[in-house]
Assembly symmetry: none
Homo-oligomer: 124 residues x 2
DNA sequence: CGATTATTGGTACTTTAGTCTCACTCGATT
DNA sequence: AATCGAGTGAGACTAAAGTACCAATAATCG
């Protein structure tokens, strides 16, 4: 479509009406264009800040087992090994085993550090 | 300014150029218009979800001192008492003192629980 | 200035946490 | 059948974490 075509349109549409139609059209286009730009921004900036769901892929990537992850969640809630053992119906020895392997897999020295790392990896 | 004025413009500007100028103008207007709408949305929806700044009032309400809070922050980063003592240039005994009073003030039994509670209270 | 609070630190002690090694079971895989 | 990973757990430690009590000094406030 070329500019100036409006002169070749049917006589029923006056220049003014046709012109305003184009104006509205571009107005809408500018609006939609901005929508796309905004969505891009949301995907690259806003989403990582607000949504942050758990990265299931990274969990298996680190070879964290189902049981280990449950322990990690309870650590995150501030529970002691003894409390965790009661909630999972296992001995405290077993909890310690899980915690130890968790710390290795998360490359942490303490459980508090494990929590921090796990959040950074979006595992928690 | 009325529609159709372009016919009365100087001959140097062809209809096409003038028309496209208007098109760009409306395009820009549509863009800016959307910008305002987006900013409104951000102010009414996004901000309350993402900001969640630290509640300074609650900190003094719980009578958490400046030093205690610094310790809390370092605990949050996963540091040990020894590491904290080195970073704050104080003895580990002092760190333990701060941690103990912190746990009391936050009504926590462990430092991991203190982290959780502090976040719930929007102190961290 | 006197009172209060914050900060610091020590000692002694108890409790959690964490490591290391070994071992048994169970289910899935090869 | 043999292997492997996951889950379980014991024992003996070492290392952190946390409590209780006490006390000195600095800073702040009325």
């Amino acid at each position: 479509m070329k500019m100036g075509e409006y002169t070749r349109m049917s006589g029923r549409l006056s220049d003014e009406i046709f012109f305003s139609l184009f104006a509205v059209l571009f107005l809408a286009f500018g609006y939609v264009m901005n929508q796309f730009i905004q969505k891009k921004k949301i995907h690259k900036e806003t989403l990582p800040n607000e949504v942050q769901r758990i990265d299931q892929a990274k969990i298996s990537e680190l070879k964290i087992s189902r049981r280990e992850y449950q322990v990690l969640e309870l650590i995150h809630l501030g529970h002691s090994n003894q409390e965790i053992s009661k909630q999972l119906f296992i001995s405290e020895s077993t909890v310690k085993s899980h915690v130890s392997s968790l710390l290795q897999k998360l490359d942490a020295k303490r459980r508090t550090q494990a929590i921090k790392t796990a959040k950074e990896l979006q595992i928690l």
